[in-house]
Amino acid sequence: MSIVPRPRLGDIRVSKPRLAVFKFASCDGCQLQLLSCEDELLSLAEELEIVHFLEASSRIEMGPFDIALVEGSITTAADLGRIQEVRRQSKKLVTIGACATAGGIQALKNWADRSEFLRCVYATPETIDTLSTSTAIADHVQVDYELRGCPINRFQLLDVLRALLTDRRPKLPSHSVCLDCKRRDTVCVAVARDEICLGPITHAGCGALCPAFNRGCYGCFGPAQQSNCDSLVDWHLHRQVTAPTLVPLLRNFNAAAIEFRDCGDRVDPQSDLGQNL
């Protein structure tokens, strides 16, 4: 990989598509995936102009944007307004990661008593602006494409960017993790090692990582399309796996994704069925 020196970006103001990256409640891991495209980053920067990416650039331009990548979930009243503005300014809005597509791990507070949560971390919680829920971006504005995962897969990110640059629809497979396990010749950990694995109900995208490392999938890419969570959970209940073991598995990084949420609530003996939702 090498690049030829060329005039400073500022000098060649051709109309390249304008990319912006926005962050809401999140860990930065998903936007970091953009910087982790080491081989592609510079050539990507030739195809589009990164005009708003606080983590990586001090150049801050205003909208409108052709492509907005949105990381993170909505947890504060201020962000509730900000996402509307981002949507208004952006032609295509792509949400990246479990926080943005399903509320992230912080959505666990949707099940908890908020004041108790605050007190647990802060001595004087009054000054904190926080909603009682963490919600996905799509709950608030229209989203053009969703990239799943905690974190997203950088190859999928590249594919989406390339697709948007060439004006085609990105290919985002919606099958289960199982298919990818088999494609990479991993022996099923659920059957062979009796691990509880969410692979059959989890959206593809990671390349079936966990089972390849001898552990069950914990669902970080969220529910697969038309996933049958109830059946898998019932199967385990039937085998004497208890609800307290199963519920936290459904309720982690994609806790608020509808399929995982409903299934978890159904089997949770202590469920107050999403009172905050």
């Binding site: 860990c27 990586a56 947890t75 982690n252």
Partner: protein, 436 residues
């Protein structure tokens, strides 16, 4: 006395730092009234949401505090929990954990140096612009970072939020061939990293001497990563489980991050690469030590702008150490110590490790049925934050003649040299503007 003009300088969004924050400075004439490093990153309540979770999920959940240094969270969490449960890992597991941490240091320092910080020294607003003029250096940086990522992927499954870290060890030990296949890249990386340090050391640095206490881990034999005693440049020397007797974290109104200070006087202190190197230079790997001697730098160093050099030297160290581990590796069996949660016994464990940005501390109480009862997490950034503000206050008087934008930029550069990770400051509050 004349009524003086009140001047407010604001940097609405700090850039090229991880996470989101702002800076607000209030000046009256020559007097700095207030400096606030405001963190408006929405709070995510990790300590609260950990409660009641099965303890073996802790490394996976705490990783999500920060996508830049997830390994630091995982490492600190597993050690703290192993302490609670009385698990002792094998030397092989210990070594692989060090290797994993090397990967994260390489990656995280790589991001900070090449993508976030170096553009400052050339007046560019990002590394893509920098690459137009210094393509070789930027490409080299990207490749270094990529090798760090590769190491994390082989050992952890992926670079962000690795899936292979477990309480007790690893879910799966890497195959010999997998690790060995990294050797060539690591060798290249070692040499390239040395060149990077030489390059970086040739930059011009502002004169600035902080009057600090610097705190880091210190291990008897090795450069600190996963364990050690907590020591400071002022002579502190305590075991990690005494941390909370000496340090305290408090909420401040202008930030969603908690601030930490040292007891009994609530004095500030800093952590990070400079602190580590000032306190542990004798344990650097051969090349790294030699480099630390040959570059133009006074040790101990108290100039935060120069921490990029320390960071660079640590990358050299990480490459050299990773290479040695990879060459020594003979497999690791068992990959994971088995453990059972003994019923009826609640336990507590605490640990500190060295995240890329400095000392990180976790304490957990577990319930008798293997759940987390209580969690306390103190990341590096909340420990540095107060000191950053003080540094800014010290810097500002020399700058006041300049226009606001220039002051803002100069402040941002100082902040960036600390490599603050705002996402990390777990338990962050909302910034409220104080009107004068």
């Amino acid at each position: 006395m004349n009524k003086k003009q009140i001047r407010t300088i604001e940097v609405a969004a700090l850039t090229r730092v991880e996470g989101e924050g702002a800076l607000r400075v209030v000046v009256e004439g020559e007097r700095i009234l207030d400096v606030q490093l405001a963190i408006y990153e929405p709070p995510r309540f990790f300590e609260a949401l950990l409660r009641g979770r099965p303890l073996d999920e802790t490394p996976d959940i705490t990783a999500r505090i920060c996508g830049i240094c997830p390994v630091a969270y995982q490492m600190t969490a597993v050690h703290a929990l192993e302490q609670a449960l009385g698990i002792v890992v094998t030397p092989e597991i210990r070594e692989l954990r060090r290797l994993l941490y090397c990967g994260e240091w390489i990656e995280s320092h790589g991001v900070h140096m090449h993508l976030l910080h170096i553009p400052d020294f050339f007046g560019y607003s990002n590394s893509i612009e920098l690459a137009q003029v210094y393509p070789h250096q930027v490409n080299r940086g990207l490749r270094l970072k990529k090798i760090g990522n590769r190491l994390l992927e082989v050992l952890g499954g992926r670079a962000v939020h690795p899936i292979n870290v477990a309480v007790g060890g690893f879910f799966k030990a890497p195959r010999l061939s997998e690790l060995r296949s990294l050797a060539d890249d690591l060798q290249w990386g070692l040499e390239a990293a040395i060149d990077v340090v030489r390059w970086v050391a040739s930059f011009e640095y502002p004169e600035f001497k902080g009057d600090y206490e610097m705190v880091a881990l210190r291990h008897a034999e090795e450069y600190p990563m996963n364990e050690g005693r907590i020591v400071s440049t002022a002579g502190l020397d305590i075991a990690t489980d005494e941390f909370e007797q000496h340090f305290e974290e408090r909420q401040v109104p202008h930030s969603t991050a908690l601030h930490a200070w040292q007891l009994p006087h609530r004095s500030t202190y800093t952590v990070g690469p400079l602190a580590r190197m000032n306190l542990n230079r004798d344990h650097l790997s051969a090349c790294a030590y030699e480099l630390s001697e040959s570059v133009e730098m006074q040790w101990p160093c108290f100039n935060p702008y120069r921490s990029i050099i320390a960071r660079g030297i640590e990358v050299v160290h990480a490459f050299e150490e990773a290479l040695a581990i990879v060459r020594r590796y003979q497999g690791c069996s068992p990959a994971r110590m088995s453990y059972a949660v003994s019923p009826g016994q609640a336990r507590e464990g605490m640990w500190a490790t060295e995240a890329p940005r400095g000392l990180i501390y976790h304490r957990y109480q577990t319930t008798s049925d293997g759940k987390i009862a209580h969690a306390k997490i103190i990341p590096p950034t909340s420990q540095n934050q107060r000191q950053i503000e003080l540094d800014l206050a010290a810097l500002l008087p020399q700058l006041l003649a300049q226009p606001d934008s220039a002051i803002g930029l100069a402040c941002e550069k100082l902040i960036r040299s600390y490599d603050p990770c705002i996402s990390c400051a777990t338990h962050f509050l909302k910034f409220e503007i104080k009107r004068l």
